[in-house]
Symmetry: D2
Subunit: 379 residues, 4 copies
């Protein structure tokens, strides 16, 4: 089958690789209909992770079940399914507690809980930017979708970024009437803004400097804040009678940068502490890492000197980490089916698998309008 293979910093290739197969009794194989390029694929693409050369990338996958192992009793061949990026066993303590993002059994990497497809440090699993994908513990992991092809570009957001944005609002404890600030209008930030309104937010500010992304934020009903036009904290305080917001979502990560492009890993955290009210809460789904091979002192990346004294003085709370997709994807699917959620609004490009190399490069270059790219292996 054809697949997108990582070959080193800023180099991917579409290659022939062996077909994905059922290897264990609980496996399924899914024929991919849509697989997205994610912002975190770019972390790997840019050489700022320890991902192995030869790995098939792609953790945002959906498709049709092609084959199931003998222990699979719920999912059936022909089912249309969304594949959560988390690979979870379904029976360990964390999985049964709802924390599939920290499965204790699927990732053999020392000291790491939680596995994923085609991802650095998250186990030996190939990704789904390919024609076929092997899915372990299929009955537990796969989410059924209505048959057919309707809502394909909405449903494809269920494997990662829609639940991830939603998780940001869950960690931030967003509730009815709240005012919310989302930092970052990339796909995850936009999904956080959409989710905040689904949870009843009265007003959502979205902070970014890219005009195309801010325009999308406004399409979701949010108030755009352009940080290249002035301090975003002041802009939000001005818009809220100096009170600030109840909740904040971090959707940027450790590569946070100022308008000039210089990286300041503490920048967004400091802004959130400043703009969220006392006793408010913050959800962090932008990625922070213990080590960054892309900087001089890799181990320095995890030590970020942000305004912790003010965080404590304001009595704020903060939740972090990768989303346990399975906790949210069924509910979000149902909102798509009834038309109340429309995450597919952010899709900017749909291309065949053979155009993946070009798509990676242009998405990484943040070319204007390249918000979200879908790969269609069967196209």
């Amino acid at each position: 089958m054809k697949a997108v293979v990582y070959q080193g910093p800023r180099t991917v290739a579409v290659q022939d690789v062996p077909d994905a197969k059922v290897q264990e009794p609980l496996d399924a194989v899914v024929r991919i209909t849509t697989t997205n390029i994610c912002g975190s694929d770019l972390h790997m693409y840019e050489g700022r992770t320890a991902v192995e050369e030869g790995k098939v990338l792609g953790h945002e996958n959906m498709g049709i079940v092609e084959e199931v192992g003998p222990g699979v009793t719920r999912v059936q061949v022909g089912d249309r399914v969304s594949v959560p990026f988390n690979i979870a066993c379904g029976t360990c303590r964390n999985c049964t507690g709802g924390w599939t993002s920290f499965c204790l059994r699927t990732n053999p990497t020392e000291g790491m809980d939680g596995a994923a497809y085609g991802y650095a440090n998250m186990g030996p699993y190939d990704g789904g930017q390919a024609e076929l994908l092997r899915v372990p513990f299929a009955d537990f992991n796969l989410l059924e979708l209505p048959p057919g092809s309707e809502h394909e570009n909405d449903f494809t957001m269920l494997s990662d970024i829609f639940p991830t944005g939603y998780h940001g609002t869950e960690l931030a404890e967003v509730g009815p009437g709240d005012r919310v600030a989302v930092f970052g209008a990339g796909p995850v930030g936009l999904m956080a803004a959409h989710s905040a309104f689904l949870r009843g937010a009265s007003q959502v500010f979205v902070v970014d400097k890219e005009r195309d992304r801010l325009a999308l934020a406004e399409q979701f009903g949010a108030t755009a804040v352009d940080f290249s036009a002035g301090d975003p904290v002041e802009q939000i305080l001005d818009a809220t009678d100096g009170i600030g917001v109840d909740r904040g979502v971090e959707a940027v990560g450790w590569q946070a940068h100022d308008p000039s492009g210089e990286e300041h890993p503490e920048l967004v955290l400091d802004n959130l502490v400043a703009v969220v009210r006392a006793a408010g809460s913050i959800g962090v789904v932008g990625v922070y890492v213990p080590e960054d091979p892309g900087v001089d002192d890799p181990s320095s990346a995890g030590k970020i000197g942000w305004d912790y004294g003010t965080f404590f003085t304001k009595g704020q709370r903060m939740g972090t980490g990768q989303a346990p997709v399975k906790r949210y994807n069924r509910q979000l699917r149902d909102l798509i089916v009834t038309g109340r959620a429309t995450p597919g609004l952010i899709v900017s490009h749909e291309v065949g698998l053979d155009q993946a190399v070009d798509a990676y490069q242009r998405f990484d270059d943040r070319e204007d309008g390249w918000t979200k790219v879908l790969l269609k292996p069967s196209a």
Copy 2:
């Protein structure tokens, strides 16, 4: 001042009564701008409660602060305010725990916790269907509104029915993606449907037989179920592949009746138990009473033989009771201000205080289109 006074079953009058005044250091007096007739006013009007003759009615009040006592430090003369129907001390155990609907100090009635304006069994307080209203513990009870007259017909729903409908969805634990059935498309049921969507419901069924009310439910995005056209449980099961709903809201009360108009107090509870899934939950904000002077054996009213065995077998949960308005009204106000909530949609009639007698009669007759009546004392 002029006020609407209860004079006996199906008799109210607009009379001159002494002006409401500051009586205690923490009192305020509010000049009423809008005061609504509530469905529970009709329970009193119809003689099915123990309300005293001579009581000024009206617990859905808003207006402008006219005067404050010497211990009032937060609220100021001239503030535009919503008055929660609960009269709460703000310092007892229930008030500080968020249960202002069960204040331990403001209702001297033996065995009853919780007070209200112009209401049977809920203390000696006159209501606000009048020019002026005395508000005890004003700093605690009053909710500030933006100055001016904007959103008046939305804000007037904050004193009772919007928070009450919302409370139904809170008791029913409605969350994102849920399917919800609301029984009763009166004002409270409509507010419950509106609230369910604000909390992220994917689909809301509203059950009633009045076409004007069902049409309003559809305006809020709900799916109308006409129980005069067939068993509502079957209709909802048919619409959900036999699965039913995750959550149910009771917005009818003990006067539940079949399409012919005959009362069956267990009818709606049984329907809810049947239509809500195993492990689902039900919020009851329709009023049930321990005694009903309107029936032959008043004490029989509280003993309702509903399908409790099935309720247990399905492992359902149920929450009940009057809403603690203050827990929700600020958040709902903010949703009105930003335009995301539009409860005023249900207003059908606005009349002067002097037309109250006619309005009571026609609202009690359920005249076609008389969904929600506002009295404007200064009109």
Copy 3:
């Protein structure tokens, strides 16, 4: 193998039956070391359910894993395990939401969600009052215990009654500082009292009329209330300055009876409504049924005319149903291991499987001191 087989009302027999075997890839077979007789076994024994003749009884099971199917990867032969009474698939919507007591896939009975071993209406599964037990979806269902034989009589409570009593306190929302009333000092009621203290209750009243059971309640730190010595509601109100309790637990069920032994199915519910404060909550784990073959009009059993009007007026909440054991058993196991929980205190009798017939009869007769009976198949 030998097993306890139901043969009709008040008749069980110890018989030779075919050995339990692995039938599906995800099955395990457990060699039973301890299996308890439960109060709900007596509902079947007394002929008040629809259980089939020939069924092997027993849903409170623990033992050593004897064999596993090819799809079992977590549990290993030789593991000492507790078997939750719920048979859950681990992958349906209810199981992944934590409601294993309402599994959507394991019970083929029309209209019933949730399966169990050796139980009326809960699927075709034989029970564990036998030498061997087949456990479906073993990786999901089985709880590992420390190897050896320590704490055997504590751990054996993890399959049902300790989590069930705990579930009563969870449904009742028991929290630190609360005063709690538990009705029924049978094994489940005693476990609810124990659980209430583990959750931080300041005082727990336990209501029963059997002196041996009340003495056990006192051993767990509770305050005994003998309802044969006077109205239990008055006794508790007297002990609480007329305030009552914050939370109530129902651990009696529809066969509730007065001191004379006459059944009044509404009795305990009415007492709970009376003794729990306004805005308080009630957890019901005593069994209520839609139909009772043991009474003249079976379908009348589910319609219970309790004080619903007062329940609403007091704004109380109520949760019901069978416990999802898996949600609590790991935590309770850990409390046993560190010595903070001692549920085995209630064990009154340990006998071999061959004495099961006699044990059933004496336990059903409520012989003095027969609180909790364990069967030891290998004894």
Copy 4:
């Protein structure tokens, strides 16, 4: 009256000052029976805050109501009361939401929400290390205690450290069965350990290097970890099969130091991140500050470069800040009354007000055995 007055770094004096009086209609004056010296008093004593010279210290107060203002209707002269250290208005948004530690109205300091008695940056209020104390908004703030003198040394912990320790366990989401690590065996850490068990923890590790404090931790049932004897993270991992704990509580603050006494503000946070499991949670009640006048660059104190990358990778959550005492003190009082909580166990010294100067010095020197000092103004 006599009072303990701050006069500058490491200098306090017992002086005659004007009697505390009722100044506002909602004030009460309390005659102090017991007032404690708190670890955070030492932050001020050591000159590491901006507290004004001349301020009467003391925020851990209890006593008898001596006088009330005309707007006080609940509390009565002669009541025995505990005074929460938070001064809260009871009517602002944060107070009514349960966040009395961040009252929006009582602290005029720019940018600071929340007031306290005798405390740096927390408003112009004198403390209670004196004969009399003025209490604003008395009906809201004061907690009634049983009359008499019983449990005095337990009840005196209700004004601050018992609720503060408890808040640490609330922020850390401690629940039944959890394993917990508490860093710091000072009074707050010991109260956190006590609270963790009240919430059902199965095992609590307490980390410190002072033997007298570790011995007290063991009296509360905890497992002592002496960090001067080896890396505490390794010790706890060794004791938990390498798994670590579910929850962590920080009860040290920014002056965290290694065994040699050198300060490392990131030290305890890093240990907590390392020892808490993935998806676990951390409560921080040890004080961190935006600025520290006691170090060369005051503004550097708030920027702490701890292991944030690992915190994110493990998906941990963290809550922080001063405790809203009123949310917990009633429940904890009730646990003292029934004998289930015994916080007074930590009291090491009781002295008259005139011995306060000596007591401050010896407590600040961490003299062996000086765990918790009570001042008795009437002694």
